[in-house]
């Protein structure tokens, strides 16, 4: 019985203009966006390689570049907006990245960035979720208003079979559309000679598709629930579109605004004052040693080392303030995220950015790697300048590397979001089920 219902529902969807138009629009946008993002990634990759080669020789001001993430082709996230260049000196451990990798080709391509933010994640978050709403808003409401529901239930069909059949068919169509869109995007990536996907990247893509599926299922369950509750299809569509705007657009911004007002963060001036205060106890000694070393000609190794140590200490203290600011910022961000826990779009974004390594987490990881590099490798090199100038001159700039997040770690980190989406879908399906059992079908 369920098979008959599923088959009919699927056929009905496939024959409907809304599905055909929705699928074509989804495919076109997914393919065009991926093609543009692939070219953008290619330019950024070339810039990254060239920039690294050019800056190898400078030992005092070491420039570190954040590599573009290959999966940013699918999920741009914050990969571009957070900057990609860090300049390390004895005086600074950068608290944030600046600029792009010089004024290179990709920067000139920024005129495309308006479309650059349209990526596979956008297709899922906006286009496919809207398609789900348009597919499911009349799943029950139209049958009720048309009278086909009454005709169907005049037969020995348990109501839950009817709803289950509709649910399964709707999910098959939604997941099928997702599969087609994601396959097209990934295939387009794979045919590019400069894109090489590692096994972990493939796993991340699979996780991304799974997260997309959970997101769309949540919207399908919501649409089905509203369709069961409301008898008029036009009313159901209106309600669902309003809910979509609230959940995808308004609610996430509201969460950020509330969090920003709740957690007031210090401004640049306050931060600067805090940094000065942190170094205050050493200020007098620093001034004395600096004057002796730089202006009074005291070039003894002890003075030089102490001058270097105090410079490093100032950077360290400044970095501690930055770290504290970062922690507050993280708390603010977490609050915003927690306030938005009921938005499937926010949950999906967090998962997608994590899998694509284009979110704040990956950025933080890079910045921590940078701080570690400064402490463990860069300072060691600079110390040589004061201890053994010849060795310093011979030494090469140590290579920078940072441990990227493993796929399993990313997966574990996104379990809460995945569980919330699952739970959300389950609750909405149960509510739809309970409402359908009691629905007046007259």
């Amino acid at each position: 019985m369920i098979g008959t219902i599923v088959k009919r529902e699927i056929l009905d969807y496939l024959k409907s203009a809304k599905f055909q138009i929705g699928l074509v629009v989804t495919l076109v946008i997914a393919v065009v966006a991926t093609a543009i993002n692939i070219q953008d990634f290619k330019l950024r990759q070339q810039d990254y390689t060239a920039a690294r080669e050019e800056m190898k020789g400078n030992k005092y001001e070491v420039l570190i570049y954040r590599p573009p993430q290959v999966l940013s082709v699918l999920v741009q996230g914050k990969d571009r907006v957070l900057g990609s260049k860090a300049s390390l000196t004895t005086l600074t451990i950068p608290d944030r990245l600046t600029g792009y990798m010089g004024s290179r080709g990709a920067e000139r391509q920024r005129s495309l960035s308006g479309f650059g933010s349209v990526d596979f994640a956008f297709v899922v978050r906006v286009i496919l979720s809207l398609m789900v709403v348009f597919l499911a808003y009349n799943a029950v409401s139209e049958e009720k208003s048309f009278g086909t529901l009454k005709l169907a239930l005049a037969n020995p069909v348990p109501r839950h079979h009817l709803l289950l059949g509709k649910g399964l068919a709707g999910l098959a169509i939604v997941l099928g559309s997702l599969f087609i869109a994601s396959t097209a995007s990934v295939l387009l990536m794979l045919v590019q000679p400069f894109i090489v996907l590692a096994g972990s990247d493939v796993m991340r893509i699979l996780n991304l598709v799974a997260a997309s599926a959970l997101y769309l299922i949540a919207f399908y369950a919501l649409s089905l629930f509203v369709s069961v509750l409301v008898n008029r299809p036009s009313t159901a569509l209106m309600i669902l579109l309003q809910l979509w705007i609230i959940l995808v657009v308004i609610y996430p911004h509201l969460g950020v605004d509330i969090a920003e007002n709740f957690f007031r963060l210090p401004g640049d001036r306050e931060l600067s004052a805090m940094k000065q205060a942190a170094f205050q106890p050493y200020e007098a000694e620093f001034n004395k040693v600096r004057d002796a070393y730089r202006y009074k000609g005291d070039r003894s190794p002890e003075t030089g080392r102490r001058y270097f140590e105090l410079q490093a200490l100032e950077s360290q203290k400044s970095h501690e303030v930055d770290l504290d600011f970062g922690r507050q910022l993280t708390r603010q961000m977490r609050l915003a995220q927690n306030l938005c826990l009921l938005s499937p779009a926010v949950l999906f974004d967090r998962m997608a950015n994590r899998y694509a390594r284009t979110g704040l987490d990956e950025y933080e990881r890079f910045m921590q790697g940078l701080a570690r590099y400064w402490q463990t490798k860069y300072l060691g090199l600079q110390k040589l300048r004061y201890e053994d100038l010849k060795a310093y001159q011979k030494a090469e700039v140590p290579a920078f590397d940072y441990p990227t997040e493993r796929t399993a770690e990313a997966w574990i980190a996104t379990i809460p979001q995945g569980l919330i989406l699952c739970l959300m879908s389950l609750i909405l399906f149960v509510l739809a089920y309970a409402a359908f059992l009691k629905k007046d079908v007259r």
Binding site: M1, T4, I5, R8, L11, D12, K15, S16, F146, G147, T148, K150, L151, A152, L153, A154, N155, P156, V157, P158, D440, V441, R442
Partner: protein, 246 residues
């Protein structure tokens, strides 16, 4: 007529809605195999409520409906195996062809292994044009949809058929064709229960005719009795009479 032939039975059936309206007031009626029962009445007289109760779309406040001896409230799925339904305005799946609609509802009714020819035969029987068999239903006129609706009832081959004002809105020719089909079904032994406003056709086809007013069955006549009475006058007199006291 033997007790065994009893297919539809309403036993002291009442329905009061949540808003307090008494839609059906102690209805008692029986429809036997090979019998057509026409229920006449104005709008809101309780005709459709009676059908909704037989189909278990709403629970009765008191009383019981039986289909083929099965208590509809206690075992609705079993009871629905023995009843087919044709609504006032048959709406089907517009993107599907007539045959696909027939196939779907036949399967819901438990007929899972019917051939294309079987569907075509049923559609021919109700005089649906051949070219319409594989046409999408959204292009169909109301008459064509009603014919397809009765095809669905025929293919289910249930002993009881409930029809809720099936000829309403049909042109005279289509309505006549529709009644001819009902006559055939009656001769095959189906118990037919039809609510209608159409006094002429009720008199023409009904073996028994009931008149409902404000939820009550106020009069019931057999075909034989109606040979000596003017059904139209009786009906109009009832409609004009004072409201019934609750």
């Amino acid at each position: 007529m033997s007790k065994q032939n009893l297919i539809l039975k309403a036993d002291d059936l009442s329905k009061r809605y949540e808003d307090g309206v008494l839609a059906l007031d102690h209805l008692n009626l029986e429809v036997r195999a090979g019998e057509v029962y026409c229920l006449l009445g104005a709008n809101c007289a309780g005709k459709t409520t009676a059908i909704n109760l037989f189909l278990n779309f709403i629970p009765p406040t008191t009383g019981t409906c039986y289909i083929n001896g099965i208590d509809v409230t206690k075992d609705p799925l079993e009871a629905k195996k023995y009843v087919a339904f044709v609504s006032e305005n048959v709406m089907l799946y517009g993107n599907f062809t007539a045959r696909q609609n027939l196939d779907f509802f036949a399967k819901l009714g438990g007929k899972t292994a019917l051939s294309k020819d079987a569907y075509y035969q049923v559609m021919r029987r109700v005089s649906l044009q051949e070219k319409a068999f594989e046409q999408r239903v959204k292009t169909f006129s109301k008459g064509m949809r009603q014919k397809l609706g009765i095809s669905i009832a025929i293919i289910k081959d249930a002993p009881a058929i409930l029809l809720d004002e099936p000829t309403s809105g049909l042109d005279p020719k289509a309505a006549e064709e529709f009644l001819e089909i009902l006559q055939e079904l009656k001769s095959e032994g189906k118990a037919i229960f039809m609510s209608t406003h159409d006094i002429f056709r009720a008199k023409e086809i009904g073996d028994r005719v009931g008149i409902m007013k404000e939820g009550r069955l106020v009069l019931e006549r057999t075909r034989e009795e109606l040979q000596f009475e003017d059904l139209i006058k009786i009906y109009i007199d009832y409609m004009k009479s004072e409201p019934l006291t609750a």
